[in-house]
C-alpha cells in the first residue's frame, strides 16, 4: 500500500474526510468512555449538545471560547504566512503580564483610558515576545519552531517569578497578584453572564484578519509568501517585511488574548492564567484550515466540548479530561486523514521479478 499524488481534489472530499475523522474519533474514544462507566453516546451528547441547550451554559461556551479565539487566530495568521509560531502560549502570558503590570501600576485610571491602554500594552508585550524569534528567522534564517517554543517556558517562569517575588499578594501571601484597577476590568457584554468585552474583541479581530487576509493587498502578499516565498519575492513582494509584520501581528493578537483573560475573567494574574491556551491555539488553527471563520467555529466547538466535559463530569462521573482527549484525538485523526486530500491510497501491484545475470 502506498500514497500516490492526486491530480485534482474533488470539492466534496474535505468535508467528507472531516466527517470521517469525527466518526473515527468517536470510535477511538468510545472505549475509554465506556471504561469510565459512561455511555459514549450520552457522553458525546453532553459534549456536543447539552452546552447549547441552555442560555447559561451557552454563555459559558462563549466565555470559554474567548482565549481560544485569540490564540487560534494568532496561530492561523502566522501559519498562513509560513511563520510557524509555536509560541502563542508565551505571547499570551506576556500579554497577561503586561496587563497586570499596567492594571496594578496605575490602578486609578478611568475605564475609557484604561481599557485601550491595557489592550495596547498587551499587544505590545505579545509582539515583543515574538520579536526575537521573528528577527532571527528573517535575518538569519533560524528556524522559528524551536525558538518560539522555548520562549513559552520562559514566559511562564517570568509569571512565576513575578508572583513569587514582587507581585506576591501582600494580603494572602499567595503567589497571585493584587487585583487590577476597576477601570481596567472588561465590562460584561451580555447581562447576567460572564461573557465580557474580550469575546467581542476577539470576534472583531477575526473579522479584521478575515478582511486583511482575504480582501487587501497585504493579505495577498501574505498568502503568496506563505505559499511560495521564492515566487513571491520574484513578484516584488517584500518577503522579509511581510514575515516580520505577520509574526508581530500574531504575537500581538495572542498578547491581547492574555489581556482579555486577566481583564475580563480573572482580574488578577495567577500561575494558572493559561492551561495551555497557546498550544490549543495550534489545534484550533489547524482544524480551522487557517481561516478566521474556521477559527471562530472550531473555538466554539472546542469550548462546547470543554463546557460539556465539565457537565459530563458532574452528571456522568466522566473525568473532565476526556474533553481534551476527544479534542486532541480529533486533531490527530483529522490532520492524518486530510493527507488523503493530496494523496490517494493505492494498493501496490506485486512487482515482476527481474532477471539479473550472474
Amino acid at each position: 500500500m502506498r500514497l500516490v499524488l492526486r491530480g485534482h481534489e474533488p470539492r466534496w472530499l474535505a468535508p467528507v474526510l472531516v466527517l470521517l475523522a469525527a466518526v473515527i474519533t468517536f470510535v477511538l474514544t468510545a472505549g475509554p468512555i465506556r471504561a469510565a462507566g459512561a455511555s459514549p453516546v450520552a457522553a458525546y451528547q453532553r459534549y456536543l449538545l447539552t452546552p447549547l441547550t441552555s442560555f447559561r451554559s451557552f454563555s459559558e461556551v462563549l466565555l470559554a471560547s474567548t482565549p481560544l479565539l485569540f490564540t487560534g487566530l494568532a496561530v492561523a495568521l502566522a501559519f498562513r504566512t509560513g511563520f510557524f509560531n509555536i509560541g502563542a502560549e508565551g505571547q499570551f502570558l506576556a500579554g497577561a503580564v503586561a496587563a497586570t503590570w499596567v492594571g496594578i501600576g496605575v490602578p486609578d485610571l478611568p475605564g475609557p483610558v484604561a481599557i485601550p491602554l491595557v489592550i495596547a500594552a498587551g499587544a505590545l508585550a505579545g509582539a515583543l515576545w515574538v520579536a526575537i524569534p521573528a528577527v532571527l528567522r528573517v535575518r538569519y534564517g533560524i528556524d522559528e519552531v524551536v525558538t518560539t517554543l522555548l520562549l513559552n517556558p520562559v514566559a511562564l517562569l517570568v509569571v512565576q517569578g513575578l508572583l513569587n517575588g514582587p507581585w506576591r499578594n501582600p494580603v494572602s501571601q499567595f503567589p497571585e497578584s493584587a487585583e487590577i484597577g476597576s477601570g481596567f476590568i472588561f465590562p460584561t457584554v451580555i447581562p447576567g453572564t460572564r461573557v465580557h468585552l474580550g469575546f467581542v474583541l476577539a470576534i472583531g479581530l477575526a473579522v479584521v484578519v478575515w478582511l486583511v487576509v482575504g480582501r487587501t493587498g497585504t493579505g495577498l502578499r501574505m498568502r503568496a509568501v506563505g505559499l511560495a516565498p521564492t515566487a513571491a519575492r520574484f513578484n516584488g513582494v517584500p518577503v522579509e517585511r511581510t514575515l516580520l509584520g505577520t509574526a508581530l501581528a500574531s504575537g500581538a493578537i495572542a498578547g491581547i488574548g492574555g489581556v482579555s483573560q486577566v481583564a475580563g475573567l480573572q482580574h488578577q494574574l495567577t500561575g494558572e492564567i493559561s492551561p495551555g491556551f497557546g498550544y490549543t491555539g495550534i489545534v484550533v488553527a489547524t482544524l480551522a484550515a487557517l481561516t478566521p471563520i474556521g477559527v471562530i467555529l472550531v473555538s466554539l466547538l472546542l469550548a462546547t466540548i470543554q463546557v460539556g466535559a465539565e457537565s459530563a463530569s458532574r452528571v456522568l462521573q466522566l473525568p473532565p479530561q476526556m474533553g481534551q482527549v476527544v479534542t486532541a484525538t480529533f486533531l490527530l485523526v483529522t490532520v492524518g486523514i486530510l493527507v488523503l486530500r493530496r494523496y490517494r491510497i493505492r494498493i501496490r501491484r506485486p512487482s515482476r521479478t527481474s532477471e539479473v545475470p550472474s
Partner: protein, 298 residues
C-alpha cells in the same frame, strides 16, 4: 554553607530524566524528525510506570510498561510524520496534548485524581555513601545509555543509517537504505528513552504521580539537544549543568545571602542560553539537513 555532596547528589538525580529524554530526542532529530511529542511522551511514561508499579508492586514492571508506552507514542509520531507526512510540529504538539490529557483522565479514573498512592520506589544503590548513593537508573543512564547511544550513532550501521536519513533522505534511499523504516526505528527507540526519563520521576524521585509532573522537562530536553548540537555527550553535560543550577538555587534559597536571587531566572537560563547560542551562530547552526522535512520518493 553549601553542602557540596548534597549538591552533587541532587544534580545527578535531577539530570537523570533530562538525560534520558535528551538522548531520545537526539536520536529522533538525527533521523530528521523534531518530536514535540516529547513532553507528552515523558508524561505518559511517568503515568504508565506509576500505574503498573502501583498495581504490581514492582517498579521494574512499571519501567517496562513505560517503555512500551513510549514505543507506542513513538510509533504514533511515525505514523503521522513519516507515513502521512503531517507537519511535524502540529503532530508533535497534538501527541503531547493527547498523552497528557489521556494520562490525567486515567489518573482521575483510577486514582480519583489527587492520587496520594505511594508506590514502592526504586531503592538507592550504596545508600550510605555520599554522592554515589543513587538510583540504578541514574547509573544506567550515565554509564550505559549515553555511551551506548553515542556508540550507536557513530559506530554502528543503524546509527549511520539514522544520521543519513536525517541528513539526506534522497541519497540514503538511493543507497538502498529503507528511509521510512529507519525513521520509525529512531522514533520508537527515542520515545522509549523519553518515557524512561518520565518514569524515573514517578518511580524513583517522587514515588507517586501528580498533575503536571513533567513540568516542561521535555522542552528543556529540546533545548539541550540544540545546546549539545545534536550530540549525546554534550547534551548530557547540558543536562548536568541545568540540574546543577537547579540544585544550586535550591541550596542558595536556603542561605540567606542569596535569597533575593529569583530562582525562576536561574531556571530560565538554559532556554535563554540556547536562544542566544542560536542567535550568535546565526546561519551556521548545523541543523540535520532533512529537519522537519517529510520524505516521499518522487
Amino acid at each position: 554553607m553549601i553542602g557540596l555532596a548534597d549538591l552533587a547528589t541532587a544534580t545527578l538525580v535531577g539530570a537523570t530524566p533530562l538525560l534520558f529524554a535528551a538522548t531520545g530526542e537526539v536520536i529522533t532529530e538525527r533521523a530528521g524528525i523534531l518530536n514535540l511529542g516529547i513532553e507528552g511522551t515523558m508524561y505518559a511514561g511517568a503515568f504508565t510506570g506509576f500505574l503498573v508499579a502501583a498495581n504490581t508492586g514492582s517498579p521494574w514492571l512499571g519501567l517496562g510498561a513505560a517503555v512500551i508506552a513510549g514505543m507506542l507514542a513513538g510509533a504514533l509520531m511515525g505514523l503521522l510524520s513519516v507515513t502521512l507526512g503531517v507537519n511535524q510540529h502540529v503532530a508533535g504538539i497534538g501527541i503531547t496534548l493527547l498523552l497528557i490529557a489521556a494520562s490525567d483522565f486515567a489518573n482521575r479514573l483510577l486514582f480519583s485524581g489527587g492520587s496520594l498512592t505511594q508506590i514502592d520506589k526504586f531503592g538507592l544503590l550504596f545508600p550510605d555513601t555520599p554522592v554515589l548513593s543513587q538510583y540504578l537508573l541514574t547509573y544506567l543512564g550515565f554509564l550505559v545509555v549515553v555511551p551506548a547511544a553515542a556508540w550507536m550513532l557513530w559506530r554502528s550501521g543503524f546509527g549511520l543509517r539514522v544520521r543519513a536519513v536525517g541528513e539526506n533522505p534522497e541519497a540514503t534511499d538511493a543507497a538502498g537504505v529503507p528511509v521510512a523504516r529507519t525513521r520509525y526505528a529512531a522514533l520508537i527507540l527515542g520515545a522509549a528513552l523519553m518515557a524512561v526519563g518520565g518514569a524515573f520521576i514517578t518511580l524513583a524521585m517522587v514515588g507517586t504521580f501528580t498533575l503536571n509532573i513533567i513540568g516542561g522537562r521535555g522542552w528543556v530536553a529540546i533545548a539541550l539537544v540544540i545546546f549539545g548540537r545534536w550530540r549525546v555527550v554534550p547534551a548530557m553535560l547540558g543536562a548536568l549543568l541545568f540540574a546543577g543550577v537547579d540544585a544550586l538555587q535550591l541550596q542558595l534559597a536556603i542561605t540567606e545571602a542569596f535569597a533575593a536571587v529569583p530562582r525562576e531566572l536561574l531556571i530560565a537560563t538554559p532556554y535563554l542560553v540556547v536562544i542566544v547560542a542560536l542567535a550568535l551562530s546565526g546561519r551556521n547552526v548545523a541543523y540535520p539537513g532533512a529537519y522537519l522535512k517529510p520524505y516521499r520518493r518522487t
